[in-house]
């Protein structure tokens, strides 16, 4: 589903963010992206959205080289990718329902689709009774569930999550995590950048670790930090 071929990215100010990354992610996989702050996790996700382009190497999504994609096709690429961020990125003056519906409306989905899909997805994230609340009236965990609903309402092939539990307490992190798992079980490929050690260690999924832009580990059923016990307390 996702393939990096010797991808390197250096930002304009000279910071190397990714160095010669090669990696394959199969359809339906769940991958944790870990590494210290500044190691290149967000850059990795931004390349998948084509918010940035690599300096060298190729990135393939669903068999297509996204570097070949003309600029006007990029929105269509993004319709197949859902995104969740640490800071939720909801629209504060739209209700929960409207926030989720917005994602469908702006890609031209008819009203009937909006009216059938949105309640369904709100049911999935357990927010049916909050659908006419504004984001400001929700807890952080609930807001992130709305964000997950918005990311998934269009049934994308890929779901990218950049520290989705970064602002949440353990209980809410757990809820978000299990939501992402459920979404993954429907066949959606999930890539999640995270600093949440407990979560990664408990889930035992594939772990890709970056360090100053280099991939230093790619482990099936991995843990957060493999050499941490030796270095830690």
């Amino acid at each position: 589903m996702i393939r990096f071929e010797q991808v390197s990215k250096t930002y304009k100010n000279g910071t190397p963010a990714l160095v010669n990354i090669s990696l394959d992610i199969e359809k339906g996989e769940f991958v944790f992206l870990v590494g210290a702050s500044g190691s290149g996790k967000t850059t990795f996700l931004r390349l998948l959205l084509r918010e940035e382009s690599p300096d060298s190497g190729r990135i393939l999504e669903a068999g297509r080289d996204i570097g070949d994609l003309p600029k006007w096709r990029v929105p269509y690429l993004r319709r197949n990718i859902g995104c969740v961020f640490q800071d939720f990125r909801l629209l504060p003056n739209k209700t929960v329902f409207e926030n989720v519906a917005f994602a469908l409306e702006v890609i031209g989905r008819p009203r009937s689709t909006v009216e059938s899909q949105v309640p369904q997805i709100l049911e999935l994230v357990g927010l049916t009774d909050k659908s006419s609340n504004l984001p400001g009236e929700l807890s952080g965990g609930e807001q992130q569930r709305v964000a997950v609903a918005r990311a998934f309402v269009n049934r994308p092939l890929i779901l990218l999550a950049d520290e989705p539990t970064g602002n949440l307490d353990p209980a809410n992190s757990e809820i978000i995590m299990s939501l992402l798992e459920r979404i993954n079980r429907t066949g959606t490929t999930v890539v999640m950048a995270t600093h949440d050690k407990g979560l990664v260690d408990r889930m035992r999924r594939r772990v890709v670790e970056l360090d100053r832009g280099e991939m230093i580990r790619d482990q099936v059923r991995g843990v957060y930090g493999i050499d941490e016990p030796a270095m830690g307390h």
Binding site: L49, W72, P75, Y76, L77, R78, R79, N80, I81, C83, R89, L91, P92, F102, A103, E105, V106, I107, G108, R109, P110, R111, R150, N154
Partner: protein
């Protein structure tokens, strides 16, 4: 498509409403500058029309000395009658010219006039207006002729004055149109700025660039359109109440032509303003 139309209309109206103060400023500036453009165009058309009207009936008047003898008068009359470039001539006797002078001159001046002070005259229509000058040069020095007058010069003077006025109007309009464009650009920029969250979410979920842009383009378009509609109303009012109206006799056709120009310029300004704003501030 229907979904999009609804979205675009909703979005445009709410943007206009949100920035209504800026919108009003932009619309008024467009209106004022386009009124000037419209007035300049109308002036040009009315001047052209007026001179055509005047020239059609251009008359050259041969004024005889009040003391001219009957023989001198009939000589001139005969010469005028035989001149092929003169279409027709009417002789006004001294008493006829005296009556006319009584009407034209203020009482203080006409009261000291007597019939014998007033020259008799030939009022002639040349075949083409330029021939007025031929008559003038041929007859001014004939015995018994006091002077020959042709209105050509007045028309030229009037045309020159109108042209200057027109240039002033257009220059002013140019400056104002520029500021109108900047004002529209600025309202669109504010609209984009107040919507940056929405725009970033739209980009994220895969809205196409045109989907994101169109509400802002229509916003500028509508501002330009509203401005030109106000200007057209102003120009029409000007046409109706302008004191020269009767004399200039502007017809509906020139008004429609002017309105079309005003409309096109207004819409163009709105679109250009928003296009620049989108290129510079809407990163899609």
């Amino acid at each position: 498509m229907r979904v999009y139309l609804r979205y675009a209309i909703k979005e445009t109206i709410s943007n206009l409403w949100r920035n209504r103060m800026m919108t009003i400023a932009a619309v008024l500036t467009v209106a004022v500058s386009l009124s000037l453009v419209g007035a300049a165009l109308l002036l040009k058309q009315s001047a052209a029309q007026a001179s055509a009207q005047w020239q059609q009936g251009t008359r050259v008047t041969v004024w005889m000395e009040p003391t001219a003898s009957k023989a001198e008068i009939s000589t001139i009359q005969g010469q005028l009658a035989n001149l092929p470039i003169v279409k027709s001539c009417v002789y006004y006797t001294q008493s006829q010219d005296y009556q006319e002078a009584l009407q034209l001159l203020p009482r203080s001046e006409s009261s000291v006039l007597s019939v014998t002070d007033v020259p008799s005259s030939f009022r002639c229509v040349p075949t083409v207006p330029q021939n007025a000058f031929v008559v003038e040069s041929q007859f001014s020095n004939q015995p018994g002729v006091y002077s020959v007058t042709a209105p050509e010069q007045q028309i030229r003077q009037m045309n020159r004055a109108i042209r200057v006025l027109q240039i002033v109007f257009l220059a002013l309009a140019g400056v104002l149109l520029l500021s109108a464009t900047v004002l529209i650009l600025n309202t669109i920029r504010m609209a984009i700025f107040s919507r940056r969250r929405e725009v970033s979410v739209m980009k994220l979920v895969g809205a196409t660039n045109w989907f994101i842009r169109i509400p802002y383009i229509t916003e500028g378009f509508i501002q330009g359109l509203l401005g030109s509609v106000v200007a057209i109303i102003a120009v029409t009012a000007l046409k109706i109440w302008y004191p020269l109206h009767n004399e200039f006799q502007l017809n509906a056709r020139s008004l429609i032509g002017t309105s079309t120009v005003v409309l096109v310029v207004g819409v163009l300004i709105g679109s250009v303003g928003s296009a620049i704003a989108i290129r510079r501030f809407l990163d899609v």
